[in-house]
């Protein structure tokens, strides 16, 4: 049992330093975005630094003999390391809509609400101010369902410093502030071209100022998302997954498109949709919908998930 090199200290040294390097690599290479939001980056750097200090602290112990060696505790670092190294892809919705994913089941809690997240901006700014109080009624009805999702643009607007708490913000103001903050611009021909990194701002902008964008041409990218329970056979959404805090709460979000050959589209494939926005009805609520003019397949964006805040 006795070796002149203390194998336990050695093992701990390796685990700490490996975890430190791996975390640093994850964060620096932005791969951590598959698991947590950008907000966590400083915390991950901090963890990596502490692990490095711990690794260094183990160094003198390597040459101190020890009879009884233990290894089980190192599993706490080994298991996450193995899982991180084990090749796995990011979460896809076909897994989710079939009830696999908790993230969606959070929003899908009653089965019919995946729709809620798709049309995440349904309950646009006008309602969003009152939504918190209105949806607190005991008997949540269909309209409440839409309320929930209004959190998205709302959170955004409070980000902008707009005073939404009192319900005083008007559509225009809110829209302007979103537009200004993210520098959203229409193309020269007056159409919207949603770039990968401005997906969320554009979504909240369009949902907040629905009337303003009625009839506008839009080009938007997302993966094909269908929900047989709430969408008609000629409907689908080019959706992206929103991550609020970590991969445990991913939820799909996108504008519903009307497309005759929607049934031919394969779920989870990435497409770029060009079409005209019109005001459609979805479960009794006004919301933007796209009449598809053109669909082409597209590449996955570099950052697959969308981080609303």
């Amino acid at each position: 049992m006795l070796k002149r090199i203390n194998s336990q200290a050695c093992l701990e040294f390796i685990c700490f330093s490996f975890f430190a390097v791996l975390l640093f690599y994850l964060t620096a290479s932005r791969r951590y975005l598959s698991y947590v939001t950008p907000k966590m980056a400083p915390y991950l750097y901090f963890t990596s630094a502490v692990m490095l200090v711990w690794a260094v602290s183990k160094f003198p112990g390597i040459f101190r003999p020890q009879h009884r060696t233990r290894a089980a505790h190192c599993l706490i670092l080994v298991i996450p390391i193995l899982f991180l190294l084990l090749p796995h892809s990011s979460v896809i919705t076909s897994g989710m809509s079939s009830g696999y994913l908790g993230g969606s089941s959070l929003t899908n809690a009653s089965g019919n609400t995946s729709s809620a997240s798709v049309k995440a901006y349904e309950a646009a700014a006008p309602q969003s101010n009152s939504s918190v109080t209105s949806d607190s009624s005991v008997n949540a009805d269909t309209s409440n369902e839409d309320m929930s999702v209004s959190s998205a643009p709302a959170a955004m607007s409070s980000d902008n410093g707009a005073d939404t708490a009192g319900g005083s913000g008007t559509d225009g103001q809110q829209g302007d502030s979103i537009k200004k903050q993210y520098g959203l611009k229409l193309s020269e021909d007056g159409s919207i071209n949603v770039s990968d990194d401005l997906f969320y701002p554009w979504m909240s902008e369009i949902y907040s100022n629905l009337k303003q964008y009625d009839g506008t041409t839009i080009t938007i990218k997302g993966f094909v998302y269908k929900d047989s329970e709430t969408m008609k056979s000629n409907e689908f959404a080019p959706a992206r997954l929103l991550m609020w805090c970590c991969s445990a709460d991913l939820s799909p979000c996108g504008i519903i498109c009307e497309y005759d050959k929607a049934s031919e589209l394969e779920e989870d494939t990435w497409v770029e949709v060009t079409g005209v926005i019109h005001i459609g009805k979805y479960q009794g609520e006004d919301e933007p919908q796209i009449t598809v003019a053109h669909i082409s397949s597209a590449d996955k964006p570099k950052e697959e998930y969308v981080y609303p805040w």
Partner: protein
């Protein structure tokens, strides 16, 4: 072929020589040539019945002054005589690491191999000895392969001793003095080095992956892929905060004198609870961090009601949580205020309940400070003055605590990821369910999902589609205080009775407080 070395450790008069007399005079040992090296001469003499055992004795002063001479003597003896086994009776007041450095001398290391280390103790005096003898005894215990304890005459005493021993050296067997055959079996059994087991395990894991990870097996469409993603999400979210908690709690343990907090903490119950709420408000940490801090506060003698109030208040009312709730709920100050208010009310009530129904018996599951030793890092800890020594101790303590709490975090995260992967639809309530039921469902959901309290508000917001804000408030108030992850972390350091009571009180109080107050306060 290296000569096997067996070592017996234990405090003075614990019965090392009697054990050797028993073991070495077994009939099976008749044919074995033995050498017994004693580093201590106690009251009892070793006597060999079969005349197959030589005895060499070194005094403690000899050991301290000229260890090299001892090594040389042993080597020359082993070269001169044919010896099958070397048995060592180690000095009770000397650190075991001293023995190890003696035997890792390059020449001796080549001819001898330490096989087993046995610790001998007396059940009647063990806990007193542990408190009085500083670092030596725990260090010896943490280095032994199994222990032999005399006078374990009642089953409750045996249970107590085993728990004590295991808190210092987890997974170790403890035998009574009469279980000679079991001891012999343990002595001559070879078990694999845990580190090799770990390495083999990792290798197997990779092998399995490569067999199933071929292109024909589309991994990305399996629930396992989702499980891994969710699990890693929770871990990466929680580990930094756990680390912060562990560092703060270790700092409390190491740098604050043991009576400073207890002396200054208000004796008055009400004042104590207020102070607890105030500190809960100030510490921007989530529930992963508050559990280790809670534990060190209890160890430092903070009254249980106040400590419990701190534990339950911190994750609900701290600035980070307030901010994230504000964003998630659309800047609605009313929701934020109600969450904080109900959080304070609930945690104070839980604290009061603990003062009305105080816990009897020990609530810390380790009566001895097990954390310090379970890492096997006890060498010379007691005698470390000065800032440098304290810093080293701080680092070691925080590591030990990280490993200690980390395993519960990992288990909790895994269970929670599992539940999320199989889906929580079964828990959902259709629209129109009564408030009482939907609140219950929300609370259970919070318990199962084990989200970090700094970001659970956003998830709670998404529930508003199916649940009223009043019910969601149950999620927001109960979730940070208690969930699967916390339950596992708490059960690592506290007695089952205490954790169960805490769970019960937290549940009842949160349910009633939210049920009665949430709707009027939210104005619905």
């Amino acid at each position: 072929m290296a000569i096997s070395v067996y070592v017996v450790t234990g405090f003075l008069d614990s019965g090392k020589t009697s054990l050797l007399n028993q073991l070495l005079n077994q009939p099976e040992m008749r044919e074995v040539q033995l050498l017994l090296i004693q580093f201590e001469s106690g009251d009892e003499e070793f006597s060999s019945q079969y005349d197959n055992c030589d005895v060499v004795t070194f005094s403690k002063t000899h050991l301290e002054q000229s260890p090299n001479q001892i090594v040389q003597q042993i080597i020359s003896y082993l070269n001169e005589y044919e010896v099958d086994e070397v048995w060592v009776e180690w000095n009770g007041v000397a650190f075991f690491s001293q023995f190890l450095s003696l035997f890792s001398n390059s020449d001796l290391h080549h001819i001898c191999k330490i096989k087993k280390v046995i610790h001998v103790a007396d059940a009647n005096t063990l806990d007193i000895m542990l408190k009085q003898t500083g670092g030596v005894l725990p260090e010896q215990i943490s280095n032994c392969d199994f222990a032999v304890v005399r006078n374990m005459d009642s089953s409750s005493k045996a249970k107590y001793v085993r728990r004590l021993m295991n808190s210092i050296n987890p997974g170790m067997e403890t035998y009574g003095e009469m279980q000679i055959s079991k001891m012999l079996r343990s002595i001559y059994s070879e078990y694999a080095n845990p580190i090799s087991i770990l390495c083999i395990g990792i290798a197997c894991f990779w092998a399995i992956y490569y067999i199933f990870g071929t292109p024909s097996f589309d991994f990305s469409h399996t629930p396992l892929n989702t499980l891994i993603n969710v699990f890693l999400g929770i871990i990466l979210q929680a580990v930094p905060f756990l680390l912060i908690g562990v560092l703060i709690s270790s700092a409390i343990q190491i740098f604050i004198p043991s009576d400073a907090i207890e002396r200054r903490f208000p004796k008055n119950l009400g004042l104590g609870l207020l102070v607890a709420v105030f500190w809960g408000f100030c510490l921007p940490v989530c529930d992963c961090a508050s559990v280790p801090i809670f534990r060190s506060l209890v160890k430092k003698g903070v009254p249980i009601p106040a400590a419990v109030t701190f534990l339950t208040a911190t994750p609900v009312i701290n600035p980070v949580v307030i901010l994230s709730t504000y964003y998630a709920f659309n800047g609605n100050l009313r929701v934020v205020a109600v969450r904080v208010g109900l959080g304070i009310v609930s945690s104070v009530l839980i604290g009061l309940l603990f003062s009305i129904f105080p816990s009897r018996g020990k609530i810390l599951s380790n009566s001895f400070d097990g954390i310090m030793c379970s890492c096997g890092c006890y060498d010379g800890v007691a005698s470390m003055p000065g800032v440098k020594g304290k810093l080293g101790l701080f680092v070691r303590h925080s590591q030990a605590e990280f490993f200690n709490v980390g395993k519960y975090l990992l288990t909790g995260a895994f269970i929670s990821a599992f539940f999320q992967t199989i889906g929580t639809r079964s828990l959902s309530v259709q629209n129109g369910a009564g408030f009482a039921l939907s609140l219950l469902v929300m609370i259970i959901m919070a318990f199962v999902l084990s989200l970090c309290s700094t970001s659970d508000a956003v998830v709670a917001r998404s529930f508003s589609s199916n649940f009223s804000t009043g019910a969601v408030m149950g999620f927001l108030v109960f979730g940070p205080m208690m969930d699967i992850k916390n339950l596992f972390m708490l059960s690592g350091g506290f007695s089952k009775g205490f954790v169960g009571k805490l769970l019960l009180f937290t549940f009842i109080v949160c349910y009633l407080v939210v049920f009665i107050l949430a709707r009027p306060l939210l104005g619905v």
